[in-house]
Subunit: 281 residues, 4 copies
């Protein structure tokens, strides 16, 4: 699938400071960046860096003067997510657990899985396989959590969403991750661009490690899991914020657009998503 | 310096389950394990694994039967921490920031640095260098937080300790980390063995990334930072728990002993620690 | 019903301080204290006070010297709780709401009903009457919260219990109260003595205001709601702690015993409790 | 002092529901309502009720139809706060403690004084009198907490403000109350109208019980404590919300105006406020 992405961000600063943007599409074995252009106005040198472990890509910008900084990122990205059916997924044995996914079992800033052990066992413990558990977590979230724009903020965590029963994509992903980790299923945060998201924005999903693959889940149901482009991977939103600023920086304006440009693309239906799972890595 | 370590752990289980122990001394460029013996009673095969990114070492044990499992770990470890004086530490420039330490700037489960920005700026923002800031954080914790055995539990976080003004080594480390990250100083959790710790136990410290080195700090003052052996490195205690269990496992008994066996070892004095900083990696 | 109560408390202090005990059985229209004896060793003058609004009774003790203070309270109490059947309870109209129960609709320290509106509406909002809602809250708690001695502490709240799915009587009461208030049903905390409680201790229940009566509910199921003696009434445990100390005071020992002394007393069965409700005021 | 108050509130509802407004000026021994007019459009019968314990005044409105409800409250209020100088305030003895203020020593929803004991003792414990302690709390808040409009929401508590070091009037009051209670000084929440508040809004202050009087403190410094009109008294904001709704109600618009109409009124200076304390009850 091929995507056309255009992101625009305006930041203002009152003094000299550095900030790190994480908005570029990842380059990995299943995702190719066919074209990309990163524009910064006023024009300035800036450093592009890629994290070797996660593959996340950063632009380090040092604003020397107070004022408005306009960033525009345009890209054409192609990816080939793998479609997996339930019958092709073997049981994950603890013995097979790779240590590089171990960190995705631990509690993180916004995913306090350490507190959800009893709840997860009560609700999902009787299900036989990790896959069925994740599907049940997805169904539980869809039934119990309301998507309410503006209802949460940067310090809202999975526990908050669980209690207050509402949130946005980031909160849905956090709750999914926290529940899975509480069930001993490695889970991580996915941030990216989603085809035709309404309203247009960056999007958050989560991935679970089942039978040596990361499967992608969108707990909000707003995006089709095959029609997303990965920007970053992390333990939770703390790891992949759009912008990490080393001083006071204000977001003045943001626009995001992402469209599949394959003429014959069809969104996956809920029925398909019950039997086919999508892996981006 | 050379250390003799003996750890004994008894766990009981009521059914089949796997658990992952993280009690072995790391092997790294500054720390050699001269001898070690890991004993498990009843005798059983178990897997030893090393995480390539962190260097943390794990033993994966699968208890097939209910009952009591006795673990004994004995080791002789030699390490050579580097002593650095303040004048040898250059300024860290944001431009030099290596991406592999970026994760140590982000908020984590027990270190909610995202909430402490204002407090950290108020209290420490006027200090000129990261080193002075960390020293001030250390002094602030020593002055304001009481070491109270048993006052906290597994879900206690840096914010809790900040509010309730008490904790144990783990909490002291979390608060130090959270404050440093809120000041844009990368910081991570260190768990290990400390010479002659009273009462004997595993110990927690923290490390800060300054001028391309990790410097070690013991916010409790109970250990000398040159007289510790690293078991593990992580974002916070969530990453380096002694035992990660995939099912209900009960710790029945624990004993830890660690002694420097160099006959002429002298503990560093508080005066020395104001001018000399210790790096274990 | 007539009860024999014996409570013993040993407190130690390291200096002069005052403390307020709240352990005496209330005197109210449905509860008579037939005999009582309050003993303090060493013997000292102390003030007995009764709160006019709540009826809670306090002993204000000023310990002039460091040392151990032994308190013994013995009482014979008779009460006559009213048995109400569902059909006798009319609908409560908001218009009839008495302002003196309004405070029992508001969120309190341990009962954050303000955060539970969505959850309560989802789970119980479809039920027609306040009585059915409270019964459903009781059933939900019984099904989802495990009684685990020692699992919580003095700062544990209803939200914590909801997330961690465990607690003791105090936590069960807090969660019941928080849920009811989130459903606009006035609810308050009841602390008292319960017949033959195992293990023996002070007990916590809650009351809901329905059709101009306070009905008593024991969410733990450990006590029979007709076989309890009220010590105190409050918004939550913050209001009716056994001891409010104006300085550092340590509880060294506690024993509580409460027995119905009517020879023919029969505990109410779960079946009875589905149709008959108990009001102590 | 005489005040002219005009409040306008527009609420919308999508169905039948009741709500309780708490916007009228209290009538008490130090405050007289000379004139008042309460207008509700569309015109409807509504119940006016006064809580006998607190003196808070409520209007219970039952909206029978979906739509917009416009409320206008106009009043002329005269009050005579007492000016007290430090030398006239005797020591409060615990023995004199009146039980009706006991509830103002306990932790409440937004004032978790139970968690602040160590911090309060560290920071303020050395001061000799309750008055000096409250003054030091006021100075600490002024120095450490930034007034930032929109930085907090309805579930923000004293602990949150303490950690994040920012808030609005409600948060300043909560933090003041929590600190005082942690110092064993009874404290309660005051909500009212303040002369010439910028921007115009309802205002929150707090009161402390010292030598048998409630003294009023505005931790934000935005209002002069002698130039306020009491609407309500409570444990914290949970008790005196402007509107308690028994169903989904949306605030569409709010305007508040309050002016002292005495021609010669002079705002108290910070210097005066160091020596003269104001009591409204």
């Amino acid at each position: 699938m091929t995507f056309k992405i255009i992101t625009e961000l305006d930041y203002s600063t009152q003094g000299q400071l550095s900030f790190l943007l994480n908005i570029r599409a990842q380059r990995n074995s299943q995702q190719r960046v066919l074209e990309e252009r990163f524009t910064l106005i006023p024009q300035m040198p800036h450093l592009e860096k890629t994290d070797e472990v996660t593959g996340n890509r950063f632009d380090l910008i040092t604003a020397d003067l107070p004022g408005l900084y306009h960033i525009r990122y345009e890209a054409v990205v192609e990816n080939k997510p793998v479609h997996v059916s339930a019958s092709d997924l073997a049981e994950t044995e603890v013995q097979d657990l790779q240590l590089d996914v171990l960190g995705c079992l631990y509690a993180s800033r916004y995913c306090q899985s350490d507190r959800l052990g009893n709840l997860a066992a009560q609700q999902f413990g009787h299900l036989e396989t990790p896959l069925k558990k994740v599907q049940a977590v997805m169904a539980w979230i869809a039934e119990h959590i309301a998507y309410v724009s503006g209802s949460t903020n940067a310090s809202t965590s999975a526990v908050d969403s669980l209690v207050e029963r509402r949130g946005v994509c980031r909160d849905f992903a956090h709750l999914g991750i926290a529940m899975c980790r509480a069930l001993n299923i490695p889970a991580r945060y996915f941030t990216g661009y989603a085809h035709d998201l309404q309203p247009p924005d960056f999007h958050a999903c989560f991935e679970t490690w089942i039978d040596h693959r990361w499967l992608l889940w969108d707990a909000t149901g707003l995006a089709s899991p095959d029609a997303v482009v990965r920007i970053g991977t992390g333990r939770d939103a703390a790891d992949v914020s759009v912008c990490t600023s080393f001083g006071p920086l204000m977001l003045e304006r943001q626009s995001v657009s992402c469209q599949v440009i394959d003429p014959d693309y069809q969104k996956m239906t809920p029925e398909q998503l019950e039997h086919v799972f999508i892996s981006h890595s």
